[in-house]
Subunit: 165 residues, 8 copies
């Protein structure tokens, strides 16, 4: 990945990696350069603040943040940048991610977090949403998204045929 990353994927803990890899896979497939960082709103707040405050001038265009429980990561980053920030609520052992969802989505007026679904579907969707955002200035990605959309329908049709009726 020689090109400079345009997407940053950050997460509160390396235990979130298996979920967030749903996002890196999409970016890899679409050849969009990205970086991955472990950054915790609560355990490494200063590193997180530094990252957020400098992301835009470092060439990052979209930030994807995965966090669980009192999931402040996306919101904390969003408070320090004017880049679009996408939040992926992690599933949690006890409250099943509803705590992560509320903590990520219920941001006050002025500081949006673009929240996607809980867990793996959300991680994959975060990357697609990032592609949609980049596609506004990049015809290659716009085409790739068109192909991806077509492949979704084709996949359903193929499953349909496999029903054997």
């Amino acid at each position: 990945m020689a090109r400079k990353p345009v997407i940053a994927i950050i997460m509160g803990s390396d235990s979130d990696l298996p979920v967030m890899e749903q996002a890196t896979k999409v970016l890899d497939e679409n050849k969009v350069p990205y970086e991955v960082r472990i950054l915790s709103a609560h355990r490494s707040p200063e590193d997180t603040a530094r990252f957020a405050a400098s992301a835009r001038r470092n060439g990052i265009r979209v930030i994807i943040a995965g966090a669980g429980g009192a999931a402040h990561l996306a919101g904390v980053v969003a408070s320090l940048t004017t880049l679009p920030v996408i939040g992926v609520p992690m599933e949690t052992a006890e409250l099943k991610g509803i705590d992560s969802l509320f903590s990520t989505v219920q941001m006050p007026a002025g500081v949006p977090v673009a929240t996607v679904s809980i867990g793996k579907s959300g991680a994959r969707n975060a990357a697609i949403l990032a592609l949609q955002i980049l596609s506004l200035g990049d015809r290659r990605i716009e085409k790739a998204l068109g192909a991806l959309k077509k492949s979704l329908a084709d996949g359903v049709r193929k499953k349909n045929r496999n029903l054997g009726r």
Copy 2:
């Protein structure tokens, strides 16, 4: 507003207007041309599909969709476009918008909806998120967002001074 709209704000019913006007206000203040439409995933599905399928080639760059209850509007539109779609869950009389939130955010892998907070804060944030997306290719908007962020902090500081302690 002579310039061609780049943002479409759609909503399921005109009763959602007082909430969604939080979004139009932000766009007006930032001189970003937009259009507003009443479109219902359930009551006018064909108009909605037509709108969604043609939005990109009509010059729209971000779609903001507000809906309540079994809130399918954002998802239905997202299924038919590769543009970023921002969903605003409306507060509902009975379940207080938690039905709208789940229906908007819990999208399957492949079709993201960028969900913001329930109600008026969410509508305002949807517009700011749209600005953040546009700012990636527009220095004027990037600057405006920087000013907006500064004004948020200044607003808090002013309130602080008014405490009179």
Copy 3:
């Protein structure tokens, strides 16, 4: 199954088949012809719309739709047909199907979805509800439902005797 299907069972993904087979079993036992299709409100919206818009004139009389998460399938279909549409909320990994339930049942005035219980019981009940609807014009099915009801009570009585007290 040579006769033309009168019931359509649709679902968002083939992973829903093990649940929805609770419905096909009931229809098989009662010799009611049906068709099964994978159709996704979000991944194959155009196929779904085509299906819904033509179902009535194709001889379908009741549509059973199973979907999970932001479960729009039943609602999207109901927006495009005047047939009765029965929604089966799928259990989901994170929110346990409460997202599917809210997304399916909380439809706006004008476009009902007849929602049944979450998961396998719901799939079975969807088929019975379809039989109840067909029974209004079909004495054979009316009788079959009477027998089914009796067998429910007999089943309970038999279990009771097996308690051995």
Copy 4:
């Protein structure tokens, strides 16, 4: 209303009337004869059982039952008839109708209740669902539903024009 009722609208208390009148209005507009009864699963269980057990032979074809809290009315009636039973969960003061919804929809395998949305939208939708069921054997009602569907889209379009943009 000289013709024999084909729909029965029952409810647990006369305090549910303002909600359930959303259903009678639809039936009145569509000239479908119906009866309205106060019947409580808990306060008049024997009357309720008698009603349910005889509804089919009395010419009723669809039963609409509204109830709140531990809302057993629809389920109790469904246990005693093979007619389709539509349940309308009433909004409740404390739990906002989520108790009514769970009590109505989560029926065990064998005894479906076709559940619609909480409150007034649900009452209106219950009547439309009843019409959809009747329409399978009644071309007049089928046409009326087509007109209703068209009027929904027209209503949205009219609101759209009124936005004045």
Copy 5:
């Protein structure tokens, strides 16, 4: 158990037996005669009604009813008897018993169900509550309850000593 049963333990399905045996164990230990029946509010409503209507004159003094999902059993029985009815909400696969709890406890004014905790603790507590009720007219049971209470504290103290500090 030659003596006539004074407690009836009923449940919607024999799959509830492993939970409800927490209740029979308590009654066995305290030598209180009881009967166990499978009775379903929805699948065998007439048997259930017959049981409820005759329980008091058959010598039953307290009814314990376990049911899950749209858990109507306790409420249906309570509507047909003036005996105290204790409801045990079963844990359910999807909604974890919160549907059972709401369906059991949220009874309308006039028809109480004495609801205990979800699942096995609840089944055990239902039996103890039944003993507490019987103890008002039975000194032997009153003493047994005093001993039970003491044994609870002794159990805790013993665990405490076993901590080995």
Copy 6:
């Protein structure tokens, strides 16, 4: 009320009185002597413990406890007596009584609280449940309960006639 109270109605605060008076009304109508006390598990724990520990020997036969929020009153009393304790969860401003319900009903094995519905219906039902318990040893109350049950059905029938159809 010259006779010695056999029922104690306790509540955490005098602000609960308007709700708990639904219980006193039932007891007044049925001429069952009772006492009312403000007792707080958290603010007057020693008074509460003293009351609970001595209630049985003071002639109390059933305790009705109303409390809201982290509603410990019923559970604390139940831990110190072998009398049946009925818990009435109060509606709360924020969580609508679901906190009160969970805190009251989810008691551990060994210490039951007979929980009734949230708020006024629950208070009324608590008194009726207390009457049902007393009725096991009191034919007058047994008869009164039979009359009450009959009046419930009569009330429904009367409302039915008033529908004027």
Copy 7:
């Protein structure tokens, strides 16, 4: 208030003041010097970080933070100080403060927030908890807390006498 503040009461917006004044009242009554600041985790993140990082060396001993929605204020402050941080979840219009509660309490291992009840009771309790913490090194406050506890019980007893029975 000439003495240096030992408690800091911070909140996300001046609209939280009427709630948080329940805390200042307790501190005023107990003559504990405090400061009040409007600080927003999302709108003035740098001021908030500066405050948190310097609070300990500025003589603050306990921080009380009130915030609503995706309530990150207490958590963000806790990530930057080793002082005890007490979080007061604000009631919110839509989700009634359950979002605030989850966002405040569900902190990851390593960074505790001492969470109290939602809304005004919580604000008052936050101040009492702060007093309890200070009381470990301050006999005057320890005595004041003893008096407060006694006054709680006295208040209940007085209300009891006023019942006039």
Copy 8:
């Protein structure tokens, strides 16, 4: 551990030990003397009351209480002491600890419980919160907390480097 305990860790059952050991581990590492007791609000109320009422004069400075379900332990103890009481809501089989959380945190005005997150993270955080409280009068612990905070950030940084990018 020869020194007199300054922290008491109590829990409702020895089955809570594996969770609460997250707390003892932190105290062991920081050489803070503590005691562990099984005490049940419901099964051994008198022992619990005795413990709570004497804790302060026995040298205890902070009480950590873990309990699940209708989790009254922390609240009951808080009602009888002026020491800071930290509540750890246990995860429960059915309601996943949301019952424990509501029962612990929603305390009435006057009697705070410092509630931490559900389960193991909460137990660990309870101990850290206790250290934060003790640190106000103990420079050694203050330093240890500074080191702990630094180690949290270092841990995140190390994980970051291990990503190998």
